[in-house]
Amino acid sequence: MDINLPALFGQLLIGLINGSFYALLSLGLAVIFGMLNIINFAHGAQYMMGAFVAYFLLQFAGLNYWWALIVAPVIVGGFGILIERAFLQWLYKLDHLYGLLLTFGLALVIQGLFRHQYGSSGLPYQIPPQLTGVRDLGFTFLPNYRAWVVVFSLVVCLGTWFIIEKTRLGAYLRAATENPTLVRAFGINVPRMITLTYGFGVALAALAGVMAAPIYAVNPTMGADIIIVVFAVVVIGGMGSIMGAIVTGFGLGVVEGLTKYFFPEASNTVIFVIMVIVLVTRPAGLFGRAA
């Protein structure tokens, strides 16, 4: 079989881009699940909200992409904190299913509201002028914005990993995941930490949404489209492992890209096939700890 290098690298690059979003989103889900025991089905809707807030900031406040990278996660993360205080905090002692159902319902409501207001055709969001253009790598062309997305999400993912695995704050989070009662009895305000963790996880989704806005149009269903794949990524990586979420996210993006080149018919299903294989052979996921 002849290998068309530019086409192969093109698909690899698309895979890396998708992988960046898979990694950011599954990282947020892993962080939230670790602390709250909530399977946050609203994650896709919150990602979509990040893109919409970026759009609103540009349209109504004149704040550009770079501002949106900071402001949109703060706004959507704040919205997440309200959700946690109003709804989620009552569910921690119940089965996972309740959190899943609640956040699933929230996702439908949020998505429905946006679709009612903005239709489903999508709104354009321009690539910031600093990142337009392409780079000629000799064997392929690399759009600057896409390179930025890959590098920046890698930085955000590794930064999050560092905070959780290597800092004192991260030690509180890990300890509270294991035994919240005892951590609280040491004098740490665990409920506030849980609230902020949810806000942070949601902010990560919103950040991904801002980064996605110039690539995919700003669209009420953009979250619903990606979240199913992201859940498969989380299942493959294993719930609760931070590095697992990152590696699996990028890795599966690349696998998907390669499949698009070698066997395009399977590109939409390859992740789910891998999920089935992992569930059969390693039910806790590649990086998960067996329950």
Partner: protein
Amino acid sequence: MLDRASGPLLEIKDLHAWYGESHILHGATFNVQAGEVVTLLGRNGAGKTTTMKSVMGIVGKRTGSVKFEGRELINLASDTIARAGIAFCPEERGIFASLDVEENLMLPPQVRPGGLSREQIFELFPNLRERLKSQGTKLSGGEQQMLAIGRILRTGARLLLLDEPTEGLAPVIIQQIGNTIRKLKEQGFTILLVEQNFRFASTVADRYYIMEHGKIVEQFANSELNKKLETLHEYLGV
């Protein structure tokens, strides 16, 4: 020691506690003076651990009065209680598997000035220094107990609640923990101890309370110990 003008450091009155529907404490009343080592004795299920957890605020429902330095704690959340200056070492030790030894040691935040320094903790428990980068739960049982006690000495809390610190440990380690408790007492810590191991308790305690069915049924000082052996037999079956 019993007649301090300033009043007891910890004063518990008519303490009731529930786990869900089951009523565990039925009006426990006792106190601990500053600088004392006081031991709660009693059979399994008498309510000793629940008493500690009620002081610490980690029992679902509790009523009555728990005063620490004159401040009422009964309705406060456990993080506020800890910040008042009380530290708890649970029976199951509570070493975190996802943290290494150093992270476990440094986890409890300082609630007051005057806690032990890392060096002072390593003087008490030299083993810990050698194992700082090991996963917390990879330590031996004795080392985990040292870690569980060591980490609450950093915080500046003056009242330590130690729940069965000798459970399941080898005699030589029990001895080391006894020495540690005596050193802590010399340094001015106040300790409330729950013990099944009466022999061990008798080497460190100033006073004893015996619990049965969620109440205090007997109290005596260490000096009265020999007179009380028969009573102890009756209540503890030792």
